[in-house]
Amino acid sequence: MLRFILIRLGQAIPILLAIYTITFFMVRAAPGGPFSQERKVAPHILEQQMEYYGFKDPLPVQFFRTLWQHITFEFPPLTSYPGLTSKDIIVDTFPVSLELGLLAMIVALAIGLPIGILAAAKKNSILDYAPMSLAMVGICLPTFVIGPLLALVFGVWLGWLNISGWFSFSDRILPASTLGLFYAAYIARLTRGGMLETLNMDYIRSARAKGAPEFKVVIVHALRGGIMPVVSFFGPALAGLISGSFVVETIFQVPGLGRHFIQAALSRDHSLILSTVLFYAALIIVANMIVDIVQILLNPKLRYQ
């Protein structure tokens, strides 16, 4: 297991390096720099800024200096938030995004798992068709449609919740549901598929034959195998949660990292873009590794491969 983790971490290094290189040159190729503002700035100030943020050095120097800064976690000051570094921004705002993502995942699992299990257990009945058609609706309604709709109904018409902000717990409900509902639908479908497959296995028949109650057969015996597709879905789901957070944080004005990334891209803050992209990439690589480890723990067959 340790070897597996080490190999995966070793593979992560060239990946991160490649991402760094691509991102570095992509942001340099973008038109407009971090100092191109609507108001003209006096040339000597611009000169000073260019000097201070190191944009006057040759490109290779900048490339390796920035790389070294990311390796040693000694970040340069940001152009869009003078005095702060990317570390400050990420440390400040990522917990918000993380909380949003975790709440969304709780919503998704709390809705998706029971629906999927029930649909598989009562296959081809109304308890299967009705929630599964609903899940299809959930998949086809993108975040940026559900979000405004929920805000309109619960925030504006009913007046129960705030439609923007991130202060009280009730402010979390709308963003987390918006982000979670899509995954609830997806998880319901995956759970149903996985459960149907395991419920047809011989060991389930044995469990029934020995007289185990149906509830125990479904929840204890079948769920362990049936949940596998959901576990492997968590890797891609994380990437989706990140992109989803861009949209949801924009809709509900949540002060998370996603919104800052979009802002950084729009204001051409090279350093913040680079750090955020690398941070997201590292996050996803680690998450995928954890997903793989959990899969190995759950499925003995994979252990010896």
Partner: protein, 351 residues
């Protein structure tokens, strides 16, 4: 040919014909196909017959709700053409003395004189209302649909080309090459691609080719699953006898892939492409919603939903109408894809 003439030869039914018949029995899938076809025809053919242009503005008719009428205002009884077209609300607020009753009479076709101003029903009807600039919403939806569907088709085609080629080569060559190529796909899979598409959009912001670049960027991102599916098929196929025979007779690798393998992997490719179109449309709309995709004066369903979401508190139909069109189209495509999967008997790749 049979030697006996009285035997009636029944033409064999091809697997494709079988699949088509099976699809025909699936009502949801047929609904999806019908809806989608209608949508395509409407979006691309509407400029030929629809009276309103998506770009012509009538500021006095800004943000009228669906099915509401416009009222023509003439400053004196002799003028042939209307001097102004106003909304019922403006008529009630500014001109009318007994708004409800007078508006009803206008609706019934009467011509009304209020303090020397002549009001009559306008022949202009905006079925789904207008947006804030008085542009016909349905016309804008058709215009947006052209772009959204266009992105869906073209980006799917791009990812189809890349994915099929990559997957076929990887699967056919096998061995170390295959392992490296597929490991690369695994790695790319794990990356947050929306981030790169966003960066790409930023890089090419404002260039004339932006729309084209959206096609390309999305296509370049979505080919991974296609490559996996095709590779899986090719690995299964390549050791079968007819491929062996072709190889033994000295057919070139490229020709084998093209002539012997390609037709056999068509089923899964069709199914996945059908499901890819809505996925791509979703991605494009997400970008447009974030303000990074299609830029005004062009519109896609994503930008229309974005505009609607900004004004939903006052003009909810500006959100509901494009959201409905968009969601129904995604629905239709997903049902069609699921139906095709059953009909072509493709083992599901995801769920």
């Amino acid at each position: 040919m049979s030697s006996r003439k009285d035997i009636e030869l029944i033409p064999a039914r091809s697997p494709w014909r079988d699949a088509w018949l099976k699809l025909g029995k699936n009502r949801l899938a047929m609904f999806g196909l019908g809806f989608f076809a209608t949508m395509v025809v409407l979006c691309y053919a509407c400029p030929l017959f629809y009276p309103h242009s998506p770009t012509s503005q009538t500021l006095s008719l800004g943000a009228t709700p669906p099915l509401s009428m416009g009222i023509e205002l003439r400053y004196d009884a002799e003028s042939e053409e209307a001097d102004e077209v106003i909304t019922v609300k403006e008529f009630a607020d500014v001109y009318a003395s007994n708004a409800e009753e007078e508006a009803l009479r206008i609706r019934n076709g009467e011509v009304i004189d209020v303090d020397g101003l002549i009001f009559s029903k306008s022949s202009r009807i905006h079925i789904l209302g207008t947006d804030g600039h008085g542009r016909d919403l349905l016309a804008r939806i058709f215009q947006g649909g052209r772009i959204s569907l266009g992105v869906g088709f073209i980006a799917t085609f791009v990812s189809l080309l890349i994915g099929v080629f990559y997957g076929a080569v990887s699967g056919y060559l096998g061995g170390k090459t295959d392992a490296i190529m597929m490991r690369l796909v695994d790695v790319l899979y794990a990356l947050p691609f929306l981030i790169f598409v966003i960066l790409l959009m930023v890089v090419f912001e404002g260039s004339d080719h932006q729309l084209f670049l959206i096609f390309l960027a999305i296509g370049a991102v979505e080919w991974l699953t296609m490559a996996r599916i095709v590779r899986g098929q090719v690995v299964n196929l390549k050791n079968q006898d007819f491929v062996e025979a072709a190889r033994a007779t000295g057919v070139r690798t490229f020709t084998i892939i093209l002539r012997h393998l390609a037709p056999n992997i068509l089923g899964p490719v069709i199914v996945y492409s059908t499901l890819l179109v809505p996925a791509v449309m979703l991605l494009e709309s997400t970008l447009s919603f974030l303000g990074l995709g299609v830029q005004p004066p062009n519109a896609s369903w994503g930008t229309l939903i974005k505009e609607g979401a900004e004004k939903m508190m006052v003009y909810p139909w500006l959100l509901f109408v494009p959201a409905t069109f968009f969601s129904l189209t995604l629905f239709a495509m997903n049902f069609l894809g699921d139906g095709l999967r059953d009909a072509l008997d493709v083992k599901s790749s995801k769920d």
